[in-house]
């Protein structure tokens, strides 16, 4: 867990955390990552915001958990869910948000390329890692407006 915090501290704009959501490998700019949290309890309560699964409590903060499943697909078993906590821009301010990941994260460096025209708003760009081309997520775009978008 501390290694991710260390990664984020030393991240540059060309650093990316590679993670697995469901069965899909994606990338997230490391500069936005705050923490990889263990599988703590997901608290749920009635709400009407699409793409939010609930909230977790971490270091005395209530952190909303983004439900990426409707757009990214794939469901990690609860026992394997870790939470990657990252900063999101909401309106004029920033707020921490969490996404469920399977716990396997690694750091990569590279230059993000702009996304193809037909990519959804939550794809900020693509990153070439070895033979793979990974989507770089734009967590700010996981919101109501994009809940109806086609799956990746």
């Amino acid at each position: 867990m501390s290694s991710i915090a260390h990664i984020a501290e030393n991240a540059t704009e060309n650093s990316f955390v590679l993670l697995k959501i469901g069965h899909r490998r994606v990338a997230l700019p490391a500069i936005l990552v705050a923490e990889l949290a263990p599988p703590v309890r997901l608290h749920t309560f009635p709400h009407t915001t699409p793409m939010l699964a609930g909230a977790i409590v971490r270091r005395g903060r209530v952190i909303p958990v983004i439900d990426t499943e409707p757009v990214l697909g794939g469901k990690s078993p609860f026992s394997h869910r870790f939470y990657l906590i990252a900063r999101r821009r909401i309106g004029q301010t920033t707020e921490l948000g969490a996404i469920t990941v399977n716990g396997e994260c690694e750091l990569a460096s590279g230059e993000m390329q702009p996304p193809a025209m037909d990519r959804p708003a939550f794809v900020a760009g693509t990153l070439a890692v070895g033979d793979e081309s990974l989507d770089v997520l734009n967590l700010d775009a996981f919101s109501v407006a994009n809940s109806q978008e086609a799956r990746l």
Binding site: R41, H43, F45, P46, H47, T48, T49, P50, L52, G54, A55, V57, V62, I63, P64, I66, R88, I90, G91, T93, E95, G97, S143, V144
Partner: protein
């Protein structure tokens, strides 16, 4: 009539109902209640009275209002008409059989709930994260963290909007007029 199950004190609180919590959190007493197995909290000083639905069965009047299905009854208390909101329908929860009514202090609303858990002191109310953008922003004052659980703290004014009150007042007036007309005919 069954005696009231609980009557809350008119405790003074530094947070007026309806006011958004400030940055500095402070302890407050809440009533914890369940609706469809979901735990909620409400500031104790915004609840005037808690009664069993059985005890109010004779005092409740039906109100015809198809536009607002969460309100199907009114009750008269101390010369005021309270609109009874089914909390399960309000929060889009599965249908249950509510056993208690929370009669609110400063609003003409009463809330049907399944059961009371207990009264508790919470260390403070966390603001609802900005990521929540739906109706919950009106439903909740924020979130409480108690006994390792995140509990939504309901906003009493969120049960009925001013527009909904107007709608209900009109429906209530019509019902009264109909009653008066049928009494004259009889």
């Amino acid at each position: 009539m069954t005696p009231p199950t609980l009557q809350t004190n008119k405790a003074k609180s530094s947070t007026a109902p309806g006011k958004k919590p400030g940055r500095g959190r402070h302890p407050e007493t809440v009533v914890l209640f369940y609706v469809a197995n979901q735990l909620f909290a409400i500031a104790a000083d915004s609840v005037h009275e808690i009664r069993s639905t059985d005890s109010l069965a004779g005092a409740a009047n039906e109100i015809e209002n198809p536009e607002l299905p969460k309100v199907r009854h009114t009750i008269d208390r101390s010369g005021r008409t309270y609109y009874v909101v089914n909390a399960g329908q309000h929060f889009n929860l599965p249908v249950t059989r509510p056993a208690l009514v929370l009669i609110l202090r400063q609003f003409r609303a009463a809330v049907l709930v399944d059961r009371i858990d207990r009264m508790a002191e919470i260390p403070g109310v966390y603001p609802l994260p900005l990521a929540f953008v739906g109706e919950e922003r009106r439903w909740y004052r924020g979130l409480a963290y108690l006994d390792d659980s995140v509990i939504p703290v309901v906003e009493p004014t969120g049960f009925l909007t001013p527009q909904e009150f107007q709608l209900l007042d009109r429906a209530h007036k019509r019902a009264h007029e109909r009653e008066a007309a049928s009494a004259v005919q009889a």
